[in-house]
Symmetry: C2
Subunit: 266 residues, 2 copies
């Protein structure tokens, strides 16, 4: 028996989220089905966490136990032949038997993308929201800084959250602005990628943070209100849940080797 | 009556090409339908040229005559509200009545994209082909150079071409290599964009050139064979027609103002 760790990317547009559920058609279902076709084993994979319907992953991570003799280096290509073209497994490694993708995750990074140009970018339409009208981006950056640290993020959690604690740590949060599509002489503001990196995120947390930050960008809220909103520990204090299509699980980091590098990327 | 010139982008994946045809569901049909809904006019647009089924456009150009009083600056946003999300009109200008998008086009540039990394890039899967195995990229560059100039490109035209002359001029052709997705320690070769810029292209011309160049990259043909293949003036001398999904109409240039800049971009 071996414990295999794999990295998978997916376009979540046409799926009911990552995790198996009664309605079917989830990323997990397709991965487990591909493993079954390949190795004959009916098993359950363990992921670093779930993603909602319509949310994407550049690098989701999962592990599973297999008795298959298939060599490590052949797994990715072989699984991809059984997977639909919007799910791609790109890396595989063998890890200690006790390794658990969710428990061992030290750091997760999400990216949320807002196109603030006048016209939508149709070639990336599945992976970004389009925002009409001007956004005060420095105000959004100022608002976002209030969320970095260790806090009870109840304000930014779905009311359906069943977690016993809503305390999490956001290590860092930053903006990247891509102005390559901006046309001179227009009010195009570029494509704004917001990265949030923390030890874990509650259900809808990134999307509710983004929905609230967009209201800051629109001038409906003051950037320093983010502190008050956070301290309210009340979902009603925040803005709407931004659309899932703008969200992408960007990276999951582990301390696999136990060496000096505490957040070695898998 | 005014003559309006517009730029349109589209994802050709789900359409039967640009130009109206009996089966319907073409880009032209949707554009004319949006104009009809907006202005009440049933008219025919004139495009810089057609694109095949599955081929995309970053910047296709078309013009039409309208009696509508809708101000110039309102056309794009208004048309986009009637267009599906994979067709976006992004610029509009008024041009002299005698201006004709096809006749006046001085230069067209196409881009063809090959992903030569080990794994497909699922987020760009509609806009690139994925090539398994190593490609000799310097050999492809050497082969491509033989096609720059003014030649009879019969070898690289669809047998269905009905043009009276197959003489065209390719002004320039070049590669751009994006290695941002390459993973260290792998045989990933990056994403290879091939640009071809000329005064006009025959049916399937870019795709047949690319299908032949890929054979050069695979070592099946010598780069200098491209010269012999071109001179054969025979479709059978060339390689296969590369898939339409990798092709994008990148730019169409006009000399609208007649000023010193002979290829002013619209």
């Amino acid at each position: 028996m071996r414990n295999l760790l794999m990295r998978v990317s997916y376009d979540g547009t046409d799926y009911n989220g990552f995790q198996t559920q009664p309605g079917g058609h989830t990323i997990q279902d397709y991965l487990e089905d591909a493993i079954h076709r390949l190795s004959g084993e009916q098993l359950k994979i363990i992921a670093s966490g779930r993603t909602d319907a319509g949310v994407h992953a550049r690098a989701q991570v999962f592990n599973f136990y297999t008795a298959s003799p298939i060599p490590l280096e052949r797994w990715c290509m072989a699984l991809n032949t059984w997977l639909p073209e919007d799910i791609v497994v790109s890396d595989a490694m063998e890890v200690p038997m006790e390794f658990h993708s969710r428990h061992a995750a030290k750091r997760k990074t999400y990216r949320y993308t807002i196109n603030a140009n006048q016209h939508p970018d149709l070639f990336n339409r599945r992976y970004q929201i389009h925002h009409y009208g001007q956004l005060d981006i420095p105000a959004m950056e100022q608002g976002l800084r209030h969320l970095i640290g260790t806090y009870d993020y109840t304000t930014f959690a779905s009311r359906k959250s069943t977690k016993s604690s809503h305390v999490r740590t956001i290590f860092d949060a930053w903006f990247e602005r891509d102005t390559s599509m901006c046309r001179p002489g227009t009010r195009d503001q570029g494509v704004i990628h917001t990265y949030l990196s923390g030890n874990g995120f509650l259900q809808h947390m990134v999307r509710i943070i983004m929905g609230t930050l967009i209201e800051v960008g629109e001038g409906k809220r003051h950037p320093d209100d983010m502190k008050i909103i956070l301290e309210a520990k009340n979902r009603a204090a925040a803005g709407p849940t931004a659309m899932g299509k703008g969200l992408m699980l960007w990276e999951v980091e582990y301390d696999i080797t136990g060496n000096e590098n505490p957040l070695q990327e898998f």
